[in-house]
């Protein structure tokens, strides 16, 4: 889960890391007022989850409140990578000596938390990671032990040469680590972390993503989610326990299990078709999920046919069959649906489906071949 810059700023403040004074604005008037309160030069920054907003014109500087008003007017309503800007942050401009990068994430290979820092902070950090990885110092932390002083020292000396600055940044690094683990983050970074002209170390911009699986134990952060920022259908899917990602093709897919869902898409492609989506109905069965899955897929006007591929394990075939019946009753399913169904509680499922004269395949290949026919017969109707 992602949050906005201003929300991330809130959180890092709670963890004792200083950042420039700022105000949130949703109108040019508010932006002006914010700039007034700050006094002096400010930055007007679009609050969107996507990267590259600076290059897209989503960050402007203003020397006076009126300039902030104008800048806000330009940015509000702008679309950045398809996301409309509705919130701005008005931030005190800082006199920057140098920009640094610090960031934490989980490293799946070592199964540890990795803390990365670099003296080459700023917008090009990703470029640095690719072209000069030696300029990024990585320290791997076992969360069972927490971060140790020797690790903080290593990171600090990778960032600064001066003893005083190392001491200051150790404080920030330690707080960032605490933030990462206490808030169950999947990513927490400050970029740039800047050394101001008066030798303070300040978080100019920070980004925090959370582990979706842990949101339940962080009510406070869970409330920060801005659903407008996500694809509406994908959000709706998530709310119903489905994983759904739209693709370009015309064959809708309803599958149980992410691996099988990907493999199903792969086979459709291998046989010459084009999958219209990835859709995993997830582990536990619940007939209502199938109804929602049909709804989501049928919103896409390109859909020519739907392939249901269920291999029952923890998902039970009879629940799927019940869901299918519900869907047919409550939605107008106007495209052919090809059903492949096998596994746990298969018999019970087949009883339900055959009662309604549905055709059911037990082998995937057969089902895929049918769904790929130029003209699929409307095989299943109530």
């Amino acid at each position: 889960m992602k949050i906005h810059e201003y929300q991330a700023k809130d959180i890092i403040s709670r963890y004792g890391i200083s950042s420039p004074v700022s105000y949130l604005a949703t109108t040019p008037e508010q932006a002006e007022k914010g700039a007034e309160k700050i006094g002096g030069k400010v930055a007007v920054k679009a609050q969107v989850h996507v990267g590259g907003r600076g290059k897209a014109g989503g960050i402007k500087f203003a020397n006076a409140p009126l300039e902030a008003f104008t800048a806000a007017k330009q940015i509000l309503g702008m679309e950045i990578k398809g996301i409309k800007v509705s919130k701005l942050m008005i931030v005190e401009a800082v006199n920057i000596q140098k920009e640094y990068y610090i960031g934490l994430t989980v490293d799946r290979n070592t199964q540890k938390i990795v803390f990365m820092v670099s003296r080459e902070g700023g917008i090009d950090i990703e470029e640095v990671a690719l072209t000069a990885p030696e300029k990024i110092q990585k320290v791997y932390i076992d969360p069972v032990l927490g971060i140790k002083s020797f690790q903080l020292r290593r990171l600090a000396s990778a960032l600064f040469d001066e003893k005083e600055l190392r001491k200051k940044v150790i404080h920030i690094l330690s707080n960032m680590y605490n933030l990462f683990v206490s808030e169950d983050c999947s990513l927490a970074e400050i970029n740039p972390l800047v050394l101001s002209s008066n030798n303070n170390i300040i978080a100019l911009d920070s980004k925090i993503n959370f582990d979706d699986n842990a949101l339940e134990r962080h009510k406070y952060t869970a409330e920060m989610i801005d659903l407008k920022e996500e694809d509406a259908d994908e959000v709706e899917a998530k709310e119903h326990g489905l994983s759904f990602i739209k693709l370009d093709g015309d064959i809708g897919c309803i599958v149980n299990g992410a691996g099988l869902a990907m493999a199903t898409m792969d086979i459709i492609k291998l046989f010459g078709g084009n999958p219209a989506n990835f859709l995993d109905v997830g582990g536990s069965s619940n007939p209502g999920k199938i109804v929602k899955a049909f709804e989501l897929i049928l919103r896409n006007r390109k859909i020519k046919s739907i392939l249901i591929n269920i291999f029952g394990g923890i998902t039970r075939c009879d629940d799927i069959a019940k869901g299918l019946m519900q869907a047919y009753k409550s939605i107008d399913i106007n495209v052919p649906v090809v059903i492949r169904l096998t596994g746990n509680n298969e018999k019970a499922a087949l009883n339900i489906l055959k009662e309604n004269n549905f055709t059911v395949f037990s082998r995937l290949e057969d089902a895929v071949k049918v769904v790929l026919k130029k003209k699929v017969k409307q095989v299943n109707v109530l």
């Binding site: 069972v144 582990d211 992410a258 099988l260 898409m265 997830g282 536990s284 096998t342 746990n344 290949e365």
Partner: protein
């Protein structure tokens, strides 16, 4: 032989009174798995499908024999359930629960590293040694006792492979789902080592997917240490970059970990990579027939 589980497995079901725990207790029992205890805090004293329920694993272990545990408790309580089994001395723990927070898993993995405790999952379908024992949620009927070992990061995709092997007239020694999450208790390599040593296993099927570098590491191991033929499939050729494909943790990390990359590495390290999961049976059969007749 088979690996990890067999007739000597004595299983406890953690979360036995929940919907999934309840259902699969019955299914596993029907398959012949020896379930000696169920655990649900506060519900000790009941019976579920004839299995005595205890408040804690420790209570259970003081009355019945247990060497394996399967976990169906909700995600935020799963880590605690795993620690409870560890604390009580259980050596094989199979965690079906999906959606366990990553930091919980990191801590568990660090804690059991180097010990004799083996954790499968979370978010895994469990494992089955056909004809002997089933500790998981897979449909039993698609399996048959035989000589092919299966290791997979995916649940239902594994069933597809197992079924194709059975339909080809072959069978499985042990079928293991290691779980689709980015951090899981057991990876490919430990299991490859066990299958390599297992006398019942003649060939190995290994199923991977996009994301991470587990497949790449396995490839290296296979090249160096595995003498038995290995057949593979990688899911996610059509997955868009940078998108998370469901709970599988299938994230393409900075351009690395694509299906194409992984397939290439596998091919280069002697793994016979198939382009569909449902043809493992016929391909392995052909290979074994051919190699036995040369």
């Amino acid at each position: 032989m088979s690996i990890l589980i067999d007739e000597s497995t004595k299983l406890t079901v953690q979360g036995i009174t929940g919907r999934d725990g309840f259902f699969h207790t019955m299914a596993m029992q029907e398959y012949g798995t020896n379930i000696t205890a169920g655990i649900t805090p506060g519900k000790g004293g009941r019976k579920v499908h004839g299995v005595p329920v205890f408040d804690s694993v420790k209570d259970a272990i003081s009355e019945v024999e247990i060497n394996t545990s399967i976990i169906y408790v909700p995600a935020l309580f799963a880590a605690d359930a795993i620690y409870e089994s560890i604390d009580a001395g259980v050596k094989l723990i199979v965690c079906i629960t999906e959606g366990i927070p990553v930091l919980d898993m990191l801590k568990i993995c660090s804690y059991i590293k180097g010990s004799d405790i083996r954790l499968l999952g979370g978010n895994c379908p469990g494992l089955i040694s056909p004809g002997k024992c089933k500790v998981g949620i897979m449909p039993a009927v698609i399996h048959k006792k035989g000589n092919i070992g299966i290791i997979s990061r995916s649940g239902t995709l594994t069933y597809e492979v197992a079924q194709s092997i059975t339909e080809a007239g072959l069978g499985q020694s042990t079928v293991i789902g290691i779980g689709g999450d980015s951090i899981s208790g057991t990876g490919y390599i430990d299991l490859l080592e066990m299958f390599e040593k297992d006398e019942q296993t003649d060939a190995i099927a290994i199923i991977g997917e996009i994301g991470g570098t587990q497949e790449e590491q396995a490839a290296e191991y296979i090249k160096e240490k595995v003498s038995k033929p290995v057949f593979g499939f990688i899911a996610g050729k059509t997955a868009p970059r940078g998108k998370r494909m469901g709970h599988a943790g299938a994230i393409i990390d900075g351009g690395k970990g694509t299906a194409a990359d992984k397939i290439k590495v596998w091919n280069n390290n002697g793994i016979k990579v198939l382009d569909r999961p449902d043809i493992f049976g016929q391909e392995i059969k052909k290979y074994l027939f051919y190699s036995q007749n040369v």
